[in-house]
């Protein structure tokens, strides 16, 4: 489809979930998940195998391309070397190590909160963008999802489907391709699912030991038309192994991240980025089972526009 400002606003009109779950709703498509879905998802734990989808926080993937983000800074407040030096032995003593972490919420494996992206002057459910100021997000903050990131997960391994280690930069994954992959993988997409799309781009960086322009440069990713797919499927969350989910260069020069303009502010979907899916994908390919129990709690950060996470896929 042709992507331009008009296409963006058309999609915004057609795919709006504003008001769907009440005028004060702040979790959007996570409403698609009900108790029954959670109970059913738990039944997918059949092998007792856990996959951690959080990239190690010492990977230096932030390259300054976007928004002043930095790589996580891990500092120590107390160390074993202090302990051995006898510096903690004032009575009564305790020998210990302590540490701290300072990181942008969007710098590595993360949830974007619904407060993260605006369409013109509004965010999801029609809230005024000005409700997100230097003190944080008064509406649509990540804290509202603190007990919502639980349900059925489905991996759509587009790279493997294409028999590629990684899709090339600029490769746009369409709705049709998502459907084709699901069919090939013999997995059905259901209401309330967390769908994880694998492009292989991240694993290529890890293999090379170089992140290059991963964080903000060109990438394979979802085509703009998948906004319709995301809406129609009534999924709860959409995640990828890339920096920004959607294809880059974008399909238009009239907007930066045109798909984002629609899916977060209008559909109200929780978006997961920079997911590490190597072992999960290998396991799915090996046993042919692409569904699993998914549990990816954000930090309970009031007013947060995102959260670093270590999502768990459990088969």
């Amino acid at each position: 489809m042709k992507v331009d400002k008009k296409a963006i606003y058309d999609a915004a009109d057609k795919l709006s979930n504003w008001g769907r779950w009440g005028s004060d709703d702040q979790v959007g498509t996570l409403n698609h998940i009900g108790p029954t879905a959670i109970i059913a998802a738990a039944q997918l734990v059949r092998k007792g195998k856990v996959f951690a989808l959080g990239l190690p926080l010492d990977e230096k993937l932030q390259s300054g391309l976007f928004g002043g983000r930095w790589n996580p800074i891990h500092t120590m407040l107390a160390t074993g070397t202090d302990a051995i030096a006898g510096n903690q032995d004032a009575s009564p003593n305790l020998r210990y190590a302590d540490d701290a972490i300072n990181l942008p919420c969007q710098c590595s494996t993360q949830w974007d909160a619904l407060a993260h992206i605006f369409l013109d002057d509004k965010m999801y459910n029609g809230f005024d963008a000005r409700l997100v100021d230097s003190r944080g997000a008064q509406k649509n903050g990540i804290e509202h999802t603190r007990d919502k990131m639980v349900g059925r997960g489905v991996l759509l391994d587009v790279a493997r489907h294409r028999k590629l280690s990684a899709l090339p930069d600029g490769y746009a994954i369409t709705s049709d391709e998502l459907d084709a992959v699901a069919i090939a993988q013999k997995v059905e997409i259901r209401k309330g699912d967390f769908v994880i799309v694998r492009t292989g781009q991240q694993e290529a960086c890890l293999e090379k030991g170089e992140w290059g322009t991963y964080a903000g440069g060109d990438a394979p990713g979802l085509a703009f038309d998948t906004a319709y797919w995301v809406y129609a499927k009534n999924i709860a969350g959409i995640c990828t192994d890339t920096w920004g989910c959607e294809v880059r260069p974008n399909e238009t020069k009239e907007a930066n991240q045109p798909w984002h303009w629609v899916v977060i502010p209008k559909i109200g979907i929780s978006m997961g980025e920079i997911f590490y899916v190597k072992e999960l994908a290998e396991d799915c390919a090996a046993d042919g089972v692409y569904e699993f129990f998914f549990c990816a709690p954000p930090l309970n950060l009031p007013g947060g526009c995102g959260s670093p996470i270590n999502p768990q896929a459990i088969k």
Copy 2:
């Protein structure tokens, strides 16, 4: 029992798991959890109800009593007010908010890594404490547990058992009392469990709207003798709603946090602190079911001596 340095070293000798899972093991009692236990734990998801056990990160509980920790600092890197001001409209534009979080790993709801506490010159499994220096923990870092914090959770609601809203400061919960509570609650403690003990202290602070000396002062908590209980039960993790799990004032003046001296470095147990359990406890009291699926992934922080978390209890 009489608690002194001798009692500490006696317990350290008797309760050592060093070498039990090989000389390079770095996850300790999390080895008690196997695939079968995970599959069984998933069966505990019967109501499809999720409880988030992470305290909101804007609670100002750090009071300077211990170790230079600070309250979480949430700052914004981009805001809706910037967007509305038109400051993000250079073409192609994207209107968005971004943020960052800076926090001690031990400042709110958290896992302690096995690198967090030393016994003399060693940490869990006999590793030299000097392996934890200003660059982080080369051994026993939290990253090793990134896919291990999944299994059966059990709440032992000691405060409710005692018919108190909160146990008083200095109240020492013994092994016998833990057993009595389990019996009263009709729940069995099994190998590989994550046991969460509720004292009510945190809820009292929340109700008062004042943290006082919660972070490092007096508190109800586990008696030293429960180190034996923890070891004998072969549990995977031990968690409380207090700052430091064990009773304060400590049962001896010869050591600060004597129970810590044993349970982390020698038993190798993952310890969860400052868990928020109000709604979970109310639900357990209401339906009489004190077991649940537990999923509490740490951030994948290489060399981390702990991690902020938002544990999920799913019934």
Copy 3:
């Protein structure tokens, strides 16, 4: 004088320096200092005695009363204990310590930049307040003053003049009193001066070892009418030993910090706060010389709305 919104806007009209030094000026009253004044100021170095006016950054004066500021966080990136442990001895080796500091620019002894305070929608020289966004100040940032904080300093020791160790909270220092103190001290206020007013409040906190509500609560300080004095005297900078220079409770309930509304945005004066002046004041009282060479360079922080400083008064 009666202080209300009308008085504020009257003063704003009468005391405006907008355009006085050109439409792109970003340093305001620092323009009052010329080469001749700097040369003359250097002649005030007669004893070769240096006073550091920066409060130690480990003082915990931030109390949460205002704006999410925190106390400085000093962390280590490498330590002597690491060195002694042998952890820095990979060849070729260097044994060293490194550290980092994280602090609000306004948390301790500091300059306020002209970008710090707005009057309605504008900042100094008529620049739009929207030029200060999450990326910093595009106009009136502290970097423009990087070579301007040099000249003649004058201490007006109001507390000592009143024979008090500290003026009481709520004590409003008027223009008349400033003049009276100058006369009593036999010191003339000249164009381009940095005037430092001593209330004694800070020393009282240091003596008690308690900061209480120093940072944002009641305080002695400059009366609103001194805005006229500041303007008429053509001084370059105005500094005090208090948190916010002006008297608190403020002289009106119609505005928070009414004097700030005028002196930074309209007069364009550099304001120094939380100056530590104990020894300087004692020395001035002892030798009767209240003037000195003043050098208080801010960090060269582009877009900064302030800067931590350690001002030097040299007699």
Copy 4:
């Protein structure tokens, strides 16, 4: 001269200032500056011209080559866009911007404290290196110099003397060359001086707009033999426009930064790095005057192993 471990320890023996100013001295060669020198230095203010030697803190010079340092992080706590949005208008209101800065003390223009470098197990004046732990430096911290960085400054412009815009990487500046430059510049080095050596390397980076390996890679700089010069001249401080003052690659493979091993721990000299000297050097070349009043106060950071600074050279 041949540089090896033996040469380092020989120099350490010959150039020791331990005990010279008493067993508790913590400022080393800053003791060379007395009141008379400060008074005389003030007389060098003849033109009333101020040069700010602090590099802008938004230059991204840290490249990960050394020690986990990061580029300064400037974040906003309140903004003009918030103000314009009306978000600060709760009564009584104040429209303002606030910010924060997070930076390694050694990441840009900086003083190294005497606690920054160790020789074996000791730091300056024989203090045990273990006194510098995760809580900071208990001895030789930067706070002791808070009123000491004032005196006569001298620029030795080696690059201009060599008629080069920048000395090449690996260029070792010897004692003889320092003397030759001083003679050519007609400036005498005196006891208590702050000597600033210009290589031009930094300006080359600024001109290219690329920092490359400036922070930790090859560089022109002081030869090891200048440790003798530094000691013999009784200067107070030594500064350069490079990352680490001394020539890189170092003159030996047996030590990293061999000159540092001696000059900080044994001579006890305050070392300034990453000084921005372009305009100062141009002015000195133009008027032939290479001496000036120098005032470079560190932040008053107790336990600091360094401090970001914006040194002032005043002619």
